[in-house]
C-alpha cells in the first residue's frame, strides 16, 4: 500500500462516521427537489457544482487539519492525495488516478463505487417536455466536481472538473476529468515555499 493509501486508512479510522445510507438518501432527496424546483437539468447541474464549490472551500481546511499534510510538490502528489486520502476521509472510498495528459496537467479520477449514487436510477422522461431527460443530461454527482474545484482553489490551484463518464447514464465506469488551469501565485500565503 502506498504511503498516501496508508495515510488515508489511518485518518479514516480516526474520524467519526455516519450511516452511509442516510447520506445517500439525503443527497438523493436534495437532487430530486432541485429537479422539481429548477425544472431545467442544466441549471441543476450548475447549482450542484455551486453547492459543491461552497462545500469545498471549507472542506479543505478539515482535510488539512485531519491529514496533517503540507504542500504538494506537483500535480501528481495532489492527485494521489485526493484519490487516496481525500476521498477516503470523506466518502470512505478510494479512487484511481489515470489518463494523465502528455503535459501532466490533466488527469482522470476513476471511481469504482460512488456512495452518492447507490440505489439511484435516473428518470428517462424529461422533466420539461422537449428538453433532454435526466438519464442523459443530469450530472447526478456533480457536487463532487464542485468540491474538488473549491477545495483546490483554496490551496491556490485553479482547476476545472467535469464528469466524462457516469454509470448512472449507462457508461461502464464513473470518471471525473480534472484539468489544471493555473497556479494562483499571488494568493500563496507568504512564507510558503
Amino acid at each position: 500500500m502506498s504511503s498516501s493509501a496508508k495515510l488515508g486508512e489511518h485518518v479514516f479510522s480516526q474520524v467519526e462516521k455516519i450511516n452511509s445510507e442516510l447520506f445517500t438518501l439525503t443527497y438523493g432527496a436534495i437532487v430530486m427537489q432541485m429537479l422539481r424546483d429548477y425544472e431545467d437539468v442544466n441549471e441543476v447541474n450548475r447549482q450542484l457544482d455551486r453547492m459543491g464549490y461552497n462545500i469545498g472551500v471549507r472542506l479543505i481546511d478539515e482535510f488539512l487539519a485531519r491529514s496533517g499534510v503540507g504542500r504538494c510538490h506537483d500535480l501528481k502528489d495532489t492527485a494521489e492525495l485526493i484519490s487516496k486520502v481525500g476521498f477516503k476521509l470523506f466518502l470512505g472510498i478510494t479512487c484511481t488516478v489515470a489518463n494523465w495528459s502528455a503535459d501532466e496537467k490533466n488527469f482522470s479520477l476513476l471511481l469504482d463505487e460512488n456512495p452518492l449514487a447507490e440505489f439511484v436510477e435516473l428518470p428517462t422522461t424529461p422533466v420539461v417536455s422537449g428538453s433532454a431527460p435526466p438519464s442523459k443530461a443530469l450530472l447526478y454527482s456533480n457536487v463532487l466536481c464542485g468540491v474538488l474545484r473549491g477545495a483546490l482553489e483554496m490551496v491556490q490551484l485553479s482547476v476545472e472538473c467535469k464528469f466524462v463518464k457516469d454509470v448512472l447514464r449507462g457508461d461502464d465506469t464513473t470518471e471525473i476529468r480534472v484539468e489544471f488551469k493555473e497556479y494562483l501565485a499571488d494568493e500563496v500565503p507568504v512564507g510558503d515555499e
Binding site: R58, D61, E62, L64, A65, V155, E187, G191, D192, E193
Partner: protein
Amino acid sequence: MTVHSLYIVNKAGGLIYQKDFSAAAPKLELNDHLRLGSTFHGLHAITSSLSPCGPSSGIKVLETDTLILECFQTPTGIKFFATAPKGTTNLAEKLKGVYDRYADFVLKNPFYELEQPIRCELFDQALSAWLVERSAPPVRLSPMRTAPGAVPWTLGPQDAEHGAMLCVSWHGRTGCSPTPRNALQM
C-alpha cells in the same frame, strides 16, 4: 501549562479571533488586539524574506524571557498563533488541536462567512476545553494507622495549602483533630 492568549488571523492579515485563556494575559482593548494581529501578519511575511539560508517559512516560534509565542500557518493562509508561559512544551500540538476545532466548529457553522470574525459559541466552548488546563482533581489521603476518634479527611485544591499543613500535624499527633495553630510549617 495554560496558554495565555490565542489569535487567529485570516489570509489578508485581519484578526478574526482573539481570546485570553489565563489571568496572566495582558488586558488589551479590541483595537490593540487588531493591531497586534495585523502587525504579526506583517512580521511573519517579512521574516520569510529575511532568512539567511534559503527559502523559509515565516515565524514559527518566538521566545522571550517570560513567554513563548508559536505560530502555525495553514496552506490555506490562516495563521493560528498563541502565547504561553516560558517552558510550555506542547504549544505546537495545542495549535494543531485549535485548527481541528476550527474545522469542526467554525467551518461547519453555516452562518459563518469565511474570512470574517468568528462568533461561534461551540468553538469557544471547545477551545476552553482544549486550551485551559483543569486544576488537579482532589487527592484522597488518610492516615496509615487510624487512632481512635480519628477522622479521615480529604485534600482539595482549594485547601491544598491548608491541607499540607494539616497533613504534617496529623502525623505528629494521634487522637486529636489537627488545627492550623498547631500545624508545622512545610
